[in-house]
Amino acid sequence: MRKVLIALSAVAALAACASRPEATPTPDTTVGAATTPAPSGPTPGSAEDFRVSVGDRVFFGYDRFDLTPEARSVLERQAAWLRQYPNVRILVAGNCDERGTREYNLALGARRAAASRDYLVSLGVAGNRVETVSYGKERPLDPRSNEEAWSVNRNAHSQIVSGAVS
């Protein structure tokens, strides 16, 4: 089954390549790697490819859920990748720093996840491929209690649920 998925994904990758928008900064090497696997680097279409080559997190300001230009850029890469691998389904998790109360942060994280999802959908990703969840302040990326950690912990994290190349 996985081999079939890999084959399908590779075909999809090549097909998607032709229509990829110019603005999408996904390295061309990922397509080449699909046919001749490189000794190092993520397998194209894999969860690692998505995480490393595309970027799986976008970051927010304090108590904000609007997308920064940097966040939009990452989401545009995510959308392009998702168009390239149409079998992939993702879960976008909204996360918050610890400088808010628990329930408010659950609601705020939901807004961040929804903002990311809405942008992906506006870029042509089918809505039924993108689920959302909020973890509020319960799953910090950086365990420290300082500004640097908080800025990292305010994010929307796109995780592949299914359909990726293994």
């Binding site: 859920f65 109360t101 659950l106 996840a113």
Partner: protein, 442 residues
Amino acid sequence: MTRAMDMVRKIFFAFAIALVMMSSSGPAQAQVHVNVEEGHLNPMPIAIVDFIGANPAAQQVGADVASVIRANLERSALFRPIPSNAFIERITALEVPPRFADWKIIQAQGLVVGQVTPLPDGRIRIDFRLYDVFAEQQMTGFSYTTTPDNWRRIAHRISDQIYEQLTGEQGYFDTRIVFVSESGPRTRRIKRLMIMDQDGANPFFLTGSNAMVLTPRFSPSTQLITYMSFETGAPRVFLYNLETNRREVLGDFPGMTFSPRFSPDGQRIVFTLDMNGNSEIFSMDLASRSRTRLTNHPSIDTSPSYSPDGSQVVFNSDRGGSPQLYVMNADGSNQRRISFGDGRYSTPVWSPRGDLIAFTKQMGGRFAIGVMRPDGSGERILTESFLDEAPTWSPNGRVIMFFREGRGEGARLWSVDLTGRNLRQVPTQTDASDPAWSPLLP
């Protein structure tokens, strides 16, 4: 609030109470009185004698009961239990009136004596009497018959009797705390539901470590707990039945559900439903499972809490640009902002007395626990630190428990009096957060 809501409930622990009003002369003639507002400044000296017993086992229970009563009263900061080694008279029989002069000399204003009697059927009877030392008269006396392993609850009930007699306010010692027990690294925190007596005794887990749980709250009957869990993936409101140890998801909703609380009559749960990033407050009738939408606004609306008469709901919204407190009628009408101070307000909880709303306030990078009247006036900050969050009221509305986290540290439970004094850590074996205080047990 009275104990009226406790009626018609199964007794959680099997024990029988025999009320024996022993020649009580009534509180009207009593000379001792503790003012809950000012009592901390000059706690009442009170002598609590180890309860006497007919055999060593009964004597041990008697000593343990007295010890729990002393700890409860001391923790309230309204009383100062006198060390036993200062006692002059040795109590050897309950029927013999104490030598009040011996207790006056050591400045005792109240005197508590008692007796543990083993019964032929294996149960025990615990008698106690509270004396007003200066009036030289008994204020109250009770007799409880129970199983030997239930002595702690009797000690809490006696503590409540003493508190009520001497303050004129309802007690809060025969209560439990449900909270979230925390362990593991901060990036992979394990959060489990735990329940314990208000003094930290008898802790046990209600849920396993497979799913993170948050924000448990008691039903008025104390038999149900509603909480939020990631057990099925996304946040979902659950119900946990303490009698059957079964849990269930509350309703089948398209989005996330969280921040649940019971209505004062226990018939409804009010909670937040988030759909596509828009959180709204709903209530659900538990019998029919029919739901009612209370808010309709693109902003964050969350953390609802009913007034004790059930007519209003206080909640948290950022519709004004930052998180603030709002009050609405229970049907969602007449939504109005009540918090106007500097800072960000959240987690409002209506006092069981109805007179105040407790909240978390963020200001200047610090988190505070405070109270205000339901119209927003009279704001007072009780305690603040790097992170103080999630107030819960004692059933008499006199004490607030919350959790506190230091910078980079785990959370612990703390309590503070409504006066802002008597800040104390609540003993827990693990890190702990999201406390919820039960009503008085039935």
